[in-house]
């Protein structure tokens, strides 16, 4: 991948102008936690506040009109980015809120609705879920008496789908899974799961936090029913996430939060709801953040998601190959590039991930250590914590080489002392 110029791209991200830990170049390998922001995103958010700030969807003045245009324009950008309809895009605080919104709304769906969940129904998740796509469903199961079941993870870090007919039973109402594991990097095969889920009348909810920022996604082609992602992992600001849902399902789903903006009419004793997406956006929304997300997705489109994905895969290969040459390193997750993304978790013999992370930090290298909000998966892997490097468009070959060298130096530091 010689034509992808990560060095030029880095120049558009102000944070790379600074140094860390006494003048060291910042080697940021933690984009799976949150991405850095290009200047266009920071400027878009700032410009909204400096120029168009007003409460959207209310007020008869010019600023209110402009703010509404900017906010709804951002919704259109998101919809186009996902190949979705504009009214199918709900802005939330983050992907965690998107998934909780769904879990609460599904939990209060009327009895006559096909979305109603009750005792005896089944909710299916996977063993590799981030807590954000695990606990909402676990708790929905506890609230409704529904049964929680899950696909296990095999030794290579892939979903074991061999018992799919037994896991997704006729009583299954919800199948919620991640598109790409935030720990293993595994990209899950969706076709078989969606096919089986739809045959038994279940809806499929996709946690796309680790996929939407890194690969081209077309919700219609994917065939899922709901999808959630975070703005801040997609070069956008914090405080904005997206829930996409098929329009007929959003129409059927009751609201989660109540208040201003989300109503059609209100009396002292009753209320009716505005159509989606406004039904799910109570209160003055995160306007500047939505506008910033729009700028981020435009920026990603300009560079091209295919090119970004290819670049990340090129770096991932270099990282995996390098780690494999180190006898003391164990990689958790697929070693081949087939159906995997640019997230690589690993362990180094006799060095706890926190100590490794601390050493790497002293070299200017930012990685994530810990359980990555996927505690059950860690237990399955038989570790309390791992070290994770996650890549994005601004990473270069030299970042990978610095990490590999840093790991070797950490072995000397902790081993030789």
């Amino acid at each position: 991948m010689t034509n992808f110029n990560a060095r030029e791209i880095r120049k558009e991200f102000p944070i790379f102008d600074r140094t860390v830990r006494e003048g060291k170049r910042l080697i940021y390998l933690d984009s799976g936690a949150t991405s850095q922001k290009p200047r266009v995103v920071i400027d878009a958010e700032s410009h909204f506040y400096s120029f168009s700030n007003a409460a959207v969807h209310r007020g008869a003045h010019q600023l209110a009109e402009e703010a509404t245009d900017a906010y709804e324009g951002a919704r259109k950008i998101v919809a186009d980015f996902l190949s979705a309809e504009v009214d199918e895009v709900v802005f939330t605080k983050n992907a965690t809120e998107s998934l909780n919104l769904l879990a609460y709304s599904l939990g209060s769906a009327k009895k006559e609705s096909e979305l109603h969940v009750t005792a005896g129904d089944r909710i299916v998740i996977t063993e590799m879920e981030h807590h954000a796509n695990l606990i909402p469903w676990q708790q929905l199961a506890l609230r409704t008496g529904a049964e929680l079941a899950w696909f296990p993870v095999d030794t290579e870090g892939r979903l074991d789908l061999s018992e799919i007919e037994k896991v997704i039973t006729d009583r299954t109402k919800i199948v919620a899974l991640t598109h790409q594991s935030n720990v293993l990097g595994t990209i899950n095969p969706l076709d078989g799961i969606i096919g089986r889920a739809h045959r038994v009348g279940a809806i499929v909810i996709l946690d796309a936090c680790q996929s939407v920022p890194h690969m081209s996604i077309n919700v219609k082609q994917l065939g899922v029913d709901f999808l959630a992602f975070s703005g801040h992992k997609s070069l956008g600001p914090t405080g904005v996430g997206v829930l996409w849902g098929r329009s007929e399902l959003l129409a059927d789903l009751p609201p989660f939060l109540f208040g201003g903006s989300m109503i059609e009419s209100v009396t002292m004793t009753s209320a009716t709801w505005a159509p989606a997406p406004r039904k799910f956006e109570a209160g003055v929304p995160n306007m500047a953040q939505a506008v910033g997300l729009g700028a981020a997705l435009n920026y990603l489109n300009e560079i091209g998601l295919e090119a970004i994905h290819d670049h990340e895969m090129f770096l991932t290969q270099r990282l995996i190959t390098g780690l494999e040459q180190n006898k003391s390193v164990q990689i958790f997750g697929p070693r081949n590039l087939e159906m995997r993304g640019g997230v690589v978790s690993f362990g180094v013999e006799d060095i706890h991930p926190h100590d490794l992370g601390q050493f790497l930090d002293s070299q200017g290298i930012a990685v994530r250590t810990g359980h990555h909000c996927a505690w059950p998966l860690n237990r399955k892997l038989g570790v309390t914590a791992t070290t994770r490097a996650s890549l994005y468009l601004y990473n270069e070959e030299s970042d990978i080489d610095a990490l590999l060298e840093g790991v070797a130096d950490a072995q000397t530091y902790f081993g030789g002392k």
Binding site: P353, H354, G370, H371, W375, T384
Partner: protein, 147 residues
């Protein structure tokens, strides 16, 4: 290297050769504490003999800071009374909260002064305090039993 302030030799020695890291068969109180942000965990057992002297054993999984801190604390507290541990405990917690400003009183803390560098790394303070908070919990429980 500045990192050497954090990973002082005492810490790495205790990490590699931890003391009292073997749960005894008998005990009055057993507590289990975890660090939810990283998954590190410790089991700590505490009993007091007829003279009120502490017998403390522990086991755990964690980083060098959390494990060495447990080892150093066990070495400091074993054989002392709960009253004697109180000023040591306070001095250590104050040191951890000092954001790098304090160096710690070596007469009180002995080997535990080696953790002075930890207070400059906010993310690691919880590692250093894991065993100490478990001890605090256990000592409250064991005093409840005595009364």
């Amino acid at each position: 290297m500045q990192l050497d302030n954090l990973y002082q030799e005492v810490i790495l020695d205790h990490y590699k050769r931890p003391e009292f890291k073997k749960l005894s068969e008998t005990f009055s109180v057993r507590v289990h504490h975890v660090n939810p942000s990283c998954g590190d965990e410790i089991t700590l057992q505490l009993s007091l003999d007829m003279q009120g002297e502490i017998a403390l054993t522990w086991d755990g999984i964690g980083c060098s800071i959390s494990m060495a801190s447990a080892s150093v604390m066990a070495g400091l507290f074993n054989g002392k009374s709960l009253e004697q541990t109180a000023p040591i405990f306070e001095e250590f917690v104050t040191l951890m909260q000092s954001k790098g400003a304090a160096t710690g009183d070596e007469d009180v803390l002995e080997d535990a002064v080696a953790f002075s560098g930890v207070s400059k790394y906010p993310a690691r303070i919880k590692c250093a305090l894991l065993a100490w908070m478990a001890f605090k919990d256990a000592s409250v429980q064991v005093q409840g039993q005595v009364k």
